[in-house]
Amino acid sequence: MNLEKIQTENMFLYYGTKMALNDISIKIPEKKVTAFIGPSGCGKSTFLRSLNRMNDLIDGVKIEGKIIVDDINIYGKNIDVVTLRKKIGMVFQRSNPFAKSIYENVAYGPKINGLNDRKQLNEIVETALKNAAIWDEVKDRLGDSALGLSGGQQQRLCIARTLAVNPEIVLMDEPASALDPLSTSKIEELIVQLKENYTIVIVTHNMQQAARISDQTAFFYLGELIEYDKTKKIFTNPDKKQTEDYITGRFG
């Protein structure tokens, strides 16, 4: 049985001629939380965005090597990016709900997939909002604009919106960095719950957060994957000196 959900082999990424990721090989297990940490500009977000090909949207990005999801190289020929992104959802750093109602935000993904049955949509919206731990707060005002929610609620709504498409993997790019401590802890609890059903990859600049919620941690520095191991090992007994320097706050 293959427990690796995502696997990269000798992956390089260039912005024009500038190398941003240098020879990344990593295996990300299924239904676990994997955290990417490292100082700003180390390539962790760039790497995350390569996993659902969001970097395709940026001009001049070139990728070499393989990124394999479920035994398929997602940068191979004949890969349909649209289908890929349904399987690999993404939650962004800044919450970005559409200027639509709460209901329509969550129903957006199923609807663009052609689902129009009201009853089925209602069920999907309810389940997604429950799974994102925001149902109780919004169930009485699903028709209200999503923009009226607080920052933390908006971010959980965005998570619900991602879950409504029924992805297998959820990528999260510093999902709590713009939130207050209470909202952050709610999001963290949620992430731990979500790993029962989803493979979670999260980029965070908050090392305590990585230590609290992740099973594996990868430390990136200057475009290289310095160390990748069980979170406990990384934070208590890292092999590399750079990792130790970073987690003890000596740089970054």
């Binding site: 659902n52 649209v82 970005n96 559409f98 200027a99 957006y108 919106r161 991602t162 498409v165």
Partner: protein, 302 residues
């Protein structure tokens, strides 16, 4: 510290000068509107707005000119708004910012915007009437003259060309106000690029599209030069019923009454009345553009 008298005087003079130019602007607007309103207000009646001109335009109403203006801007909008919106979508969503094609299109749009309106009229005459119309006549009607002469369709299309830059620029600005975060969110949910444009980008910029439309209509309602050679008539006894009919227009009606009328003095009240109607029409259009923008913004916030 005591300010020198000289410096003080200089400051007062400069402030006075800037203030007086501002006052002049206000005065111009007030005088213009007042003269038109006072001159035209007694002329405005239900009858004036709904009846045909009589006695060589010295009596009667201006209904055909109002009707013609409305029809002109409607056909013009049907042509210019979708075309302009699609161009704007190409520029903001598909073209790479600094690609040669995008630069060329932007250069063309800027050029269109500065071409004097009379040249649009000449272009409409040469292209739509003499080329397209004549070709249609000789191909489909065996040379029978129908489309190869001025009519409301060619006039509206010529006007559409003139207002195209207004539509393109305002829609482009509106599309740019939709944050890239929302495009990314939609794409990350597995939406195609077109679904993202259709379901997220266009709904997010509908106020800009509407504003562009109204501004274009307001411009089209006031312009005369582009339709001089392409379809407007001095006088037609019937309302245009087909694309190949000629028509009357408010702006041109004012012009013919002041310059071509047999008795200019006798038409003076009607000139004022027509001017007031045209002024009111453009005011109403611009105010509705402002209200629309405000309402949609308010709705967005709630």
């Amino acid at each position: 510290m005591i300010k020198s008298f000289k410096k003080n005087i200089k400051g007062i003079l400069i402030e006075g000068l800037t203030l007086s130019s501002a006052v002049v602007i206000i005065a111009i607007v007030v005088v213009m509107v007042t003269v038109i309103v006072i001159g035209g207000k007694n002329q405005i009646s239900w009858e004036f707005l709904t009846s045909f001109p009589e006695d060589g335009m010295t009596k009667g109403g201006i209904f055909p000119a109002i009707y013609g203006t409305a029809l002109l801007v409607i056909i013009m909008s049907i042509a210019a708004v979708p075309f302009g919106t699609i161009t704007a979508i190409y520029l903001t969503e598909y073209a790479k910012e600094n690609s040669i094609i995008a630069k060329t299109i932007r250069f063309a749009v800027r050029t269109l915007a500065v071409i004097p309106s009379i040249i649009y009229g000449l272009f409409g005459l040469g292209f739509f009437i003499k080329f397209v119309g004549t070709t249609m006549d000789s191909t489909f009607l065996g040379g029978h003259l129908k489309w190869g002469q001025p009519n409301i369709l060619w006039a509206s299309l010529t006007m559409a060309l003139l207002t195209l830059p207004v539509v393109i620029v305002s829609v482009e600005e509106a599309l740019k106000t939709v944050p890239d975060d929302l495009r990314a969110a939609s794409l990350a949910l597995g939406a195609t690029k077109w679904q993202t444009i259709w379901k997220v980008v266009i709904p997010g910029s509908i106020s800009g599209i509407m504003t562009g439309t109204i501004l274009a209509v307001s411009r089209g309602a006031g312009e005369v030069a582009p339709i001089l050679f392409t379809g407007v008539a001095y006088y037609v006894a019937t309302l245009p019923a087909s694309f190949s009919d000629q028509f009357m227009v408010l702006g041109y009606h004012i012009y013919v009454m002041t310059t071509q009328s047999a008795n200019v003095d006798k038409t003076l009240p009607i000139q004022f009345g027509t001017t007031l109607v045209l002024l009111a029409l453009t005011f109403i259009l611009n105010i509705s553009a402002i209200i629309l923008r405000y309402r949609i913004r308010k709705k967005k916030i709630n």
